[in-house]
Symmetry: C2
């Protein structure tokens, strides 16, 4: 990554040593991560973005649930199984964790659980993906409002899209397996 | 959109009147499009980006198929059903069309056919999604190398991610329906 080595850059976004990518023995996941070009440096960028994300999380989460009002059936699902108030807390914690810069066995377990929960409540994958796009748009706005350096902006956009893509891959695969299992 | 109205901006990226969003009678898709905040203006931005994308398409497509080498089973699928040479042409046409700024019944039909073809050849959704992320990264690089105006950059990134997200939603939903049907 270029901007880490810019000697004159005093606003250095990324500090190395803050991230951790531990894959275990799953060779498929290793290939998935390679194919999306996700490296420990992306996790360092995520970790560097975490304070900016946390500062804007309340607005992001508010917007996330407001957006679901476009499809009233989603609100019914939520009220049948949980509540907006509870889910706002769940999502706040989850998004902050997405920017912790850590991928390990706990991370993979959690994505499986998220898939199982959403299959159980009957959330179709298309709405799950719509919600992810809304999330991404909010994160892009946070980058827009927080960063000025052109290279940092592009690196951040790249890292954020990789992290969201990996999460979607893992959750949608577990979705398919769980849907299959429940037949 | 702000940058369309900047009187002093002589490098105006977007010209209105070049895009078309025709939804037909599918109310679900209408809601999906609303939830990802995709509008005709995004299609205008796509159309404005099309020449930049086309100029870099050969490199993008080359990289796309090189990336599949990370997972040799994907190359086997390709050689069993087609050839890299043929698919490079298919992908070149398809990506150019993604930036045509047009969404209509033909567009929706094509996404269904893409899903059916990929189900038939046994392509797991996770590899499809990996390939999409590689595509997105290439498109981000094209934006990085083609645009200088900060606002145009962010608008372009937003529009491109929306267009890719909609395509994934449509293809993955048709994937599920087709997998179900074939059982
Ligand atoms: C970006 C997309 C989404 C993310 C990241 C997300 C994240 C989460 C997480 C982390 C949990 C807790 C899982 C656990 O127990 O460990 C959860 C549960 C839940 N989600 Fe989502 N979610 C998303 C989209 C949606 C949507 C669109 C709905 C609309 C119906 C929804 C409804 C629910 C409900 C009802 C639960 C709680 C179920 C229960 O407590 O039994 N989620 N979600
Ligand atoms: C971003 C992801 C991808 C896009 C946008 C894409 C696009 C397309 C398109 C437009 C077609 C032609 C469909 C038609 O007949 O109308 C096609 C066919 C095909 N794709 Fe993909 N594809 C993607 C990922 C992949 C991957 C990862 C593989 C790896 C195995 C693959 C293998 C094939 C094969 C073998 C065919 C041709 C099948 C035949 O002619 O019978 N695709 N794809």
């Amino acid at each position: 990554m270029l901007f880490k080595n810019k000697a004159k850059d005093t606003r250095k976004l990324v500090q190395s040593g803050n991230a951790s990518l531990v894959l275990g023995t799953d060779l498929e996941v290793e290939k998935q991560i390679k194919m999306i070009h996700l490296t420990e440096e992306d996790l360092e960028i995520a970790k560097a973005l975490q304070p900016f994300v946390e500062k804007n999380l309340a607005v992001l989460v508010e917007r996330f649930y407001q957006n679901l009002e476009n499809q009233p059936s989603l609100l019914h699902i939520i009220n049948d199984h949980s509540s907006i108030t509870r889910l706002k807390q769940t999502l706040t914690v989850h998004i902050s964790e997405m920017f912790a810069g850590v991928i390990n066995s706990h991370y993979f377990e959690k994505r499986k659980r998220i898939a199982h929960v959403h299959v159980k409540i009957g959330l179709q994958t298309k709405w799950y993906m719509c919600a992810f796009q809304d999330l991404l748009l909010s994160l892009i706005t946070i980058i827009e409002e927080s960063l000025t350096d052109r290279e940092e902006i592009f690196q951040s956009v790249r890292s954020v899209t990789k992290i969201l893509n990996l999460e979607q891959q893992l959750v949608l695969e577990a979705y398919d397996l769980e849907t299959e299992r429940l037949k």
